[in-house]
């Protein structure tokens, strides 16, 4: 494995000389990854559209909406007041045909699915049927963008916390192999079988219902505090339980698997060699254990972030967090199809962006990419 050479890649003499070509390689790697991921995203979004339209259900809904709107219009309009009900119905059908044609609903699904795909890719997600954004827009894009920030805040906070806490805890535990804390972490690892919302319910039970220290849910107090500082503090207060739930749900398995991973790595020969040289344990950990295992850590965290996106849907519902997940839930309650489909596409995008960013980070930390020997191998 190339991993064992990793520490030597660190030394300035090798990394410094071909600096230009290393940058070029990273750029090339990034570009190829970007193109590959773009193609994957397109396929993913297309599959989503296919599933969303399974049995033409969405089109049925759209047709019905068009007919209903036209029936309303014909019924209200003065100039059609003299028509008999039969004539009126015929008129509605005629107008509906024109409207179907305008929207392309008369074309076969295969053709339309590609048009949907194009629209979805440029985030032209259509209009919501019933829901509106807080600013009053019924554009699905506006509704989703409004809810994106809270979701990003929640996910990013918990992800960063999870990443650093579990790595440092795992490093510390691998140093104290066999201690009480170490055995505790092994014993607690199965707890991660439960998803985050499940821990959320317990946290609400303990800290909101019984102890009444923290709010049951929401993002800020109602009414929102006037000053910026008070707003921030209120936000922080509301953030504690949902972030706690996410962290609780994955931290034990994270610590456990990284501790095992570090233990395996610290039994490598070059680590023994470094110890024999008398290097301080901090330096050994940083250079000889953490550095070569970094690519694997990044990949594994990419996967965990992907599950985090999905898990946040229910977590947001449990905590009434005004993000994408709760939007999704609300949309399912009122059967607002454009929002449901649009939201699914947004999730596909978020996943693609996650994978891309982490690929990029991967390129930064994986020495094999820097020297350009084998591009992606994880």
């Amino acid at each position: 494995m190339a991993v064992s050479e990793a520490p030597s890649m660190q030394s300035p003499s090798t990394a410094g000389a071909p600096a230009g070509s290393a940058v070029w390689r990273i750029v090339r790697f990034t570009l190829t990854r970007f193109v590959a991921l773009f193609i994957t995203t397109v396929i993913g979004v297309y599959l989503t559209i296919l599933i969303a339209n399974m049995g033409g259900h969405v089109d049925e809904i759209r047709r019905a909406t068009i007919r209903e709107g036209l029936a309303m219009y014909v019924g209200m309009a003065q100039e059609y007041a003299h028509l008999t009900p039969v004539e009126r119905r015929q008129l509605v059908e005629q107008l509906a045909e024109v409207e179907y044609k305008r929207l392309g609903l008369d074309q076969p699904f295969i053709v339309r699915s590609f048009r949907y795909l194009g629209n979805a890719l440029i985030l032209n997600l259509g209009r919501a049927e019933q829901m509106t954004s807080d600013s009053g827009s019924s554009q699905v894009r506006n509704i989703i963008m409004e809810r994106l920030a809270p979701t990003l805040l929640l996910t990013a906070t918990s992800f960063l916390l999870l990443f650093f806490v579990s790595i440092f805890a795992a490093l510390a535990l691998s140093r104290r192999y066999g201690s009480f804390l170490d055995r505790l972490s092994v014993a607690l690892a199965p707890l991660s079988a439960a998803p985050s919302w499940f821990f959320g319910i317990f946290l609400i039970l303990i800290f909101a219902a019984v102890l009444q220290w923290l709010p049951f849910g929401g993002m800020v107090d109602a009414p929102p505090p006037p000053t910026r500082l008070a707003y921030f503090l209120s936000l922080l207060k509301h953030l504690v339980l949902p972030v706690g739930a996410i962290v609780l749900s994955s931290i034990f398995i994270g610590i456990y698997s990284w501790r095992t991973f570090f233990l395996i790595y610290s039994s490598e020969d070059y680590v023994d060699m470094a110890r024999a040289k008398g290097l301080p344990s901090g330096a050994i950990e940083r250079r000889y254990i953490l550095r070569p295992s970094m690519p694997y850590i990044v990949t594994s965290f990419a996967l965990s972030l992907i599950t985090l996106w999905g898990g946040s849907i229910i977590l947001e519902r449990v905590f009434n967090w005004p993000g994408l997940g709760r939007l999704f839930y609300q949309a399912t309650q009122v059967f607002d199809t454009p929002i449901i489909v649009g939201n699914t596409i947004i999730y596909a995008y978020l996943l693609a962006i996650t994978v891309f960013v982490l690929d990029f980070v991967y390129a930064l930390v994986d020495p094999r990419v820097k020297v350009g020997s084998e591009g992606r191998s994880a």
């Binding site: 399974m54 079988a193 919302w197 499940f198 399912t332 059967f335 199809t337 996943l351």
Partner: protein, 447 residues
């Protein structure tokens, strides 16, 4: 067989594996008990039934075993029914077709808390003339409180707790407090002792009859309590067990086996097959599985079987393929595969008879750890309101508790019972899975 025996012996030396096995065994026993004690159709009917069937149970009552830990004992429901207690009804003919029916229920009340509600249900059989019923309440200290005088229809229910005239007579206390309160005490306290419920009816026909049922609803009920629709939560908890186990097991088998087979095929054939599988795996990474499931559940069908089937289908190309592929690529180079090739074994034979058995040690722990994730997936969908429309499941209990503000209103038992079951199931399987992983993967055995 031999390696299995040694591994099993190794397994039992781990306390967490033993604990996991015990939990799984307990769950299986519970599932079998559920299936033996009540057919699924009955459970579904009970769970979907309204107040007609759940007449004798209190609303939102906590589990009865809480009394063990309480100094002040709370009441459980007491039901007095003339059809069940033949001695409580006496019939006296007054001549001319007139009959007097006298019902006396001795109500033993030794609890410290007041009942939750008190109701009387009557059924009357008659042709033309509607019978008349006078009810009153005798307290242990000798007071007599009239409960009302009614002309009966075929079936009546008197919710005494909602009777405003009665509560005015009881110094503006609702019936469940006023009837049981000590009149001398400054704040409402229970007067313990034997009360008597007396109903005197007059029927005007020979064949006519009255049956009376008095229900003194307690604040506690059964092993698991009741929900907002008076249903015994135990029904769903019991039947939720076989459903959760079957679901987790079938879905986990489907997911692991299909993933492994695809990885095996890809690794064996290599070339464009392998490449295609690899690319599909990457697309899969980007597919938002849960949103798709929610979308399908909302727009098409929320039957558990359909959703789970779809989930298994969607997770065929999951990240697990990469792990298996790496393993298979190693195995592919093994000499015994070459041996199989040399006697011209077919491709399928090599994949199924030579390669797949080798990864079973990796597959089994993964499979066991996957089971709880499917159990939780059901609960996840249920909590989003996409639970199966028919089946009583743990997730649906949780969802109903959530939507009815169980935590906010302090009905903790309603949330705790299904979540503890979910947690115990999750822990049981994953403890076993973790240990299996350590036993089967010698590299981890020492750690």
């Amino acid at each position: 067989m031999n390696w299995m025996r040694t591994n099993l012996k190794l397994l039992t030396s781990y306390p967490s594996a033993l604990a996991g096995l015990v939990v799984i065994l307990a769950l299986v026993i519970m599932a079998v008990y559920a299936m033996v004690s009540m057919p699924l159709s009955e459970a579904i009917n009970l769970w979907r039934a309204g107040e007609g069937i759940w007449q004798d149970t209190p609303r939102n009552a906590a589990p009865a075993w809480l009394n063990v830990f309480r100094r002040e004992k709370l009441p459980v429901t007491q039901v007095y029914d003339t059809t069940q207690m033949p001695g409580s009804k006496t019939v006296e003919s007054l001549g001319g077709g007139l009959k007097e029916i006298r019902v006396v229920f001795p109500v033993e009340y030794a609890y410290d808390g007041f009942p939750q509600e008190i109701s009387v249900f009557t059924t009357a059989q008659f042709e033309q003339a509607r019978p008349n019923l006078t009810m009153y309440w005798l307290t242990p200290d000798g007071r007599e409180i009239p409960l009302g005088n009614e002309t009966l229809r075929a079936s009546e229910s008197f919710r005494l707790s909602q009777d405003t005239r009665l509560s005015r007579r009881l110094r503006n206390q609702p019936a469940e407090i006023g009837l049981f309160a000590d009149p001398g005490a400054p704040s409402p306290t229970v007067l313990k002792g034997t009360y008597q419920f007396v109903a005197e009816g007059i029927v005007f026909e020979d064949a006519a009859d009255i049956d009376v049922k008095l229900v003194v609803y307690g604040q506690l009920h059964g092993l698991a309590g009741t929900d907002h629709r008076r249903r015994d939560i135990m029904v769903a908890l019991l039947w939720g067990t076989p459903i959760a186990l079957a679901m987790g097991f079938v879905a986990a088998v489907g997911a692991t086996v299909s993933t492994m087979l695809i990885a095996a095929v890809g690794a064996w054939y290599g070339g464009w097959v392998d490449e295609l599988i690899q690319r599909i795996t990457e697309v899969h990474l980007i597919l938002p599985i849960l949103p798709i499931l929610i979308m399908v559940g909302t727009l098409y069908n929320r039957s558990l079987v359909v959703i789970m089937g779809l989930f298994v289908l969607l997770s065929v190309f999951s990240g697990g393929i990469k792990t298996y592929r790496a393993l298979f690529l190693q195995i592919k180079e093994a000499p015994y595969i070459e041996g199989a090739r040399s006697y011209s074994a077919s491709n399928m034979r090599i994949v199924f008879r030579y390669m797949v058995p080798r990864v079973l040690p990796v597959l089994i722990p993964q499979f066991v750890t996957l089971i709880p994730s499917f159990v939780f997936l059901e609960a996840t969908l249920a909590v989003l309101g996409l639970g199966d429309p028919l089946l009583p499941t743990w997730g649906k209990v949780l969802w109903e508790a959530e939507t009815n503000g169980a935590l906010f209103n302090g009905h903790y038992y309603w949330v705790l019972a299904p979540s503890v079951l979910l947690l115990v199931t999750g822990l049981g399987f994953s403890m076993l899975g973790f240990t299996l992983d350590r036993v089967f993967n010698p590299r981890l055995r020492g750690l």
